[in-house]
C-alpha cells in the first residue's frame, strides 16, 4: 500500500469513529432537547424551544446549578490546597518516602462505588468505626446526611479525598522541574521558606496549576456518581446538581426531552465558563 493510501485510510477510519462515537451522540442529545418524548421508544414530537422555556422557569434547575457550583468550587479549592500541601511534604527527603507517595495515590485508584460504600460503612450509625471514634472522644454524634448542609459537606469531603491525589501527583511532577539553583540563590538572599514558595514555586508551577484546576473543575462539575450514591440528591434536593437532575428527569420521570435539555444547558454553561477561564488564564502557545 502506498504511503498516501495508508494515511487516507487511517484518516477516514479516524473521522468515522469520531463522528459515530463523539459527535453523533451529542448532536442527537441536542436535537432531542427540541422534542417531547415520554418513553424511550415513543415517537418524538417537535416542540421547538418549549423544553428550554419550561426548564429555565423551574426552581429545580437553578437550585441544581447553584448546588453544582457550591459543590465544585468547594471541592476544587480544598483539593488544590490539600494537594499542594501534600506534594510539598512528599517532595522532602525522608525514610519511606516512596511508600507514602504510593499510598497517597490509593484513593484515586478506587472505584467511586467502593469509596462511597466504605465511607458509609465507616460512618454507620451504630457500628461504624468513625461513629465509635467520635463517641469515644466524647463528642456528639454527627449526622452525615440528614441536614442539607451536612449532606453537602459529606459529598465535598468524600470528593476531596478521592481527587486530591490527582493534584498531588501533578504538582509533585511539576516540582521536579523547578531548578534547585533558584532556591539556593534565594536562600543566599536571606528569604524564608514561605517567601520562596510564593515567589519561586508558585510562579514556576502556574502552568501546571492552570491545567489541573481547569480539568478538575470540568470533571467535578460533571461528576454524577459520588453525590448520587452518597445522598441521591437529597435531603429535599439540597445536593441535587445538574447531572442528577438530568438523570432523574430522563430516567425516572421519563421526560427525555427535558433531561436532554438539562444536559445541553449544563454543557453550554461549562463551555462558556471554560472560554472565560482561558481569557483570564491563557495557556502558553505550546499546545496545538
Amino acid at each position: 500500500m502506498s504511503s498516501k493510501a495508508t494515511f487516507t485510510l487511517f484518516l477516514i477510519i479516524g473521522l468515522l469513529v469520531t463522528l459515530a462515537l463523539i459527535a453523533a451522540p451529542v448532536v442527537y442529545a441536542i436535537s432531542l432537547s427540541f422534542y417531547t418524548m415520554d418513553s424511550f421508544v415513543a415517537d418524538p414530537e417537535w416542540i421547538g424551544l418549549a423544553n428550554y422555556a419550561r426548564i429555565l422557569s423551574t426552581g429545580a434547575f437553578w437550585n441544581a446549578l447553584g448546588n453544582g457550583l457550591v459543590y465544585s468550587i468547594s471541592t476544587i479549592v480544598l483539593q488544590v490546597v490539600l494537594g499542594i500541601g501534600m506534594a510539598l511534604v512528599l517532595n522532602q527527603a525522608f525514610p519511606g518516602r516512596n511508600l507514602v507517595r504510593g499510598l497517597s495515590i490509593l484513593p484515586y485508584l478506587l472505584p467511586t462505588v467502593v469509596i462511597v460504600l466504605t465511607f458509609k460503612w465507616m460512618v454507620d450509625g451504630s457500628i461504624g468505626i468513625l461513629t465509635k471514634a467520635i463517641a469515644a472522644l466524647g463528642l456528639p454524634p454527627i449526622h452525615w446526611f440528614e441536614s442539607p448542609q451536612a449532606a453537602m459537606a459529606s459529598s465535598v469531603m468524600v470528593s476531596v479525598w478521592l481527587w486530591t491525589p490527582f493534584v498531588t501527583t501533578a504538582f509533585l511532577a511539576g516540582l521536579q522541574t523547578v531548578p534547585t539553583s533558584l532556591y539556593e540563590a534565594a536562600k543566599v538572599d536571606g528569604t524564608n521558606a514561605i517567601q520562596r514558595f510564593y515567589h519561586i514555586t508558585l510562579p514556576m508551577l502556574k502552568p501546571v496549576l492552570t491545567v489541573v484546576v481547569l480539568l478538575r473543575a470540568v470533571w467535578t462539575f460533571n461528576k454524577f456518581d459520588v453525590i448520587w450514591l452518597l445522598t441521591g440528591g437529597g435531603p429535599v434536593g439540597s445536593t441535587e446538581h445538574l447531572a442528577i437532575l438530568s438523570y432523574t428527569t430522563a430516567f425516572t420521570k421519563f421526560d427525555i426531552g427535558g433531561g436532554a435539555t438539562i444536559a445541553t444547558l449544563s454543557f453550554l454553561f461549562l463551555a462558556i465558563s471554560v472560554f472565560i477561564y482561558f481569557r483570564i488564564f491563557p495557556l502558553d502557545e505550546e499546545e496545538s
Binding site: G14, M86, V100, L162, V274
Partner: protein, 275 residues
C-alpha cells in the same frame, strides 16, 4: 539544632498523617471483609481478625457477583482493545499529516473532555433501545469508548508528536512501506505510551458506575459497581459481603498499580486522566 530536629519530627509526623489519611479506609475495608460476624458488631479493634472467609464465600456462592465480575472484565477488556486500535490510528493520522479532517477530530476530542455524562448517556440509551440493543454489554462498551477514546487520542498525540520523523524516514529509505515503518518502528517505540493508555482505559471502564447504571437494566448484565451499589439498597445491610465485594473490585487495580506504578504516575502527571 533543636529547631532542625523539631522540623524533622514535624515532617515525619505529617508524612504519617498523610499515609493514614490516604490508606486507612482501604485498610479498614479489607479488615472488615475478613472479620467474623459477632466481632464485626462488638469489637472496634483496629487490628485485623478474628478472621473469616464467610463473606467471600457468601458473595461468590449466593449472589450474582461472579457473573457481574465476568461482565465487568469483558466490557473493560473489549474497551481497552478497541480504544488502543482506534486511538493509535487517529493519533498517528493527526500527527503525521496536515489534512483538513484533522481539525474536526482534534476539536471533537477536546470537547469530549467536557461532555456531561448525561449528554452522552441519554442519546446512547435512546439509540440502543430503539435498535433493539438496549441493556446489552455492547451498548456499555460504546458508552465507555466516549470516555476512553479522547483520552487515548490526546495521550498518544502528545507521544507521537515528540517522536522524530527521521526514524520512520530511515526505515522507509531501507525499503519499508509507510505501514511497515509504522508497525515496525513507531509502534514498538510507543510501547510505554500504549501501556499508559491501556491502563487508564481499563481503569475508566472497570470503575465506571454512571454509564453502567443507565445502559444496563437486567441483573444478568450488570457490572460489579452497579451490582454492588444495589446491595446497599436492600433491606438488611450485609456490610461484610459489601466490603468483601469492594475489596474484590479494588484488588486488580492495586495489583496493576504495584506492577506498573510508573505508567500510572506518568499518565496522572500528564493530566490526561479523567476521573
Amino acid at each position: 539544632m533543636t529547631r532542625a530536629l523539631f522540623g524533622r519530627l514535624a515532617l515525619y509526623l505529617t508524612a504519617i498523617v498523610i499515609a493514614i489519611y490516604s490508606a486507612f479506609p482501604v485498610y479498614w475495608m479489607i479488615v472488615s471483609s475478613t472479620r467474623a460476624p459477632q466481632e464485626m458488631f462488638s469489637s472496634s479493634s483496629l487490628w485485623p481478625g478474628p478472621f473469616t472467609g464467610e463473606y467471600y464465600s457468601n458473595l461468590l456462592e449466593l449472589t450474582d457477583y461472579p457473573a457481574q465480575f465476568i461482565n465487568s472484565l469483558t466490557v473493560a477488556l473489549i474497551t481497552v482493545v478497541v480504544t488502543m486500535v482506534f486511538s493509535v490510528i487517529i493519533a498517528y493520522a493527526v500527527t503525521r499529516q496536515r489534512i483538513r479532517g484533522k481539525k474536526v477530530i482534534v476539536a471533537s476530542m477536546l470537547y469530549a473532555y467536557m461532555f456531561p455524562p448525561l449528554l452522552i448517556a441519554i442519546p446512547m440509551y435512546t439509540f440502543f433501545t430503539r435498535i433493539g440493543l438496549g441493556d446489552t454489554l455492547t451498548s456499555l462498551v460504546a458508552a465507555h469508548l466516549t470516555m476512553t477514546l479522547p483520552l487515548g487520542v490526546w495521550f498518544l498525540w502528545g507521544f507521537f508528536k515528540n517522536m522524530p520523523f527521521e526514524l520512520e524516514e530511515a526505515a522507509m529509505v531501507d525499503g519499508c512501506t509507510r505501514l511497515g515503518a509504522f508497525l515496525r518502528v513507531v509502534l514498538p517505540l510507543s510501547l510505554p505510551g500504549l501501556l499508559t493508555v491501556a491502563i487508564f482505559s481499563f481503569l475508566l471502564s472497570w470503575t465506571d458506575y454512571t454509564f453502567a447504571l443507565i445502559m444496563i437494566g437486567s441483573d444478568a448484565n450488570k457490572t460489579v459497581p452497579v451490582g454492588l451499589a444495589s446491595m446497599i439498597g436492600s433491606f438488611d445491610l450485609r456490610w461484610g459481603e459489601i466490603m468483601a465485594g469492594s475489596t474484590l473490585i479494588a484488588l486488580p487495580l492495586f495489583g496493576a498499580f504495584a506492577l506498573l506504578s510508573q505508567y500510572f504516575i506518568q499518565g496522572m502527571s500528564a493530566g490526561a486522566v479523567k476521573g
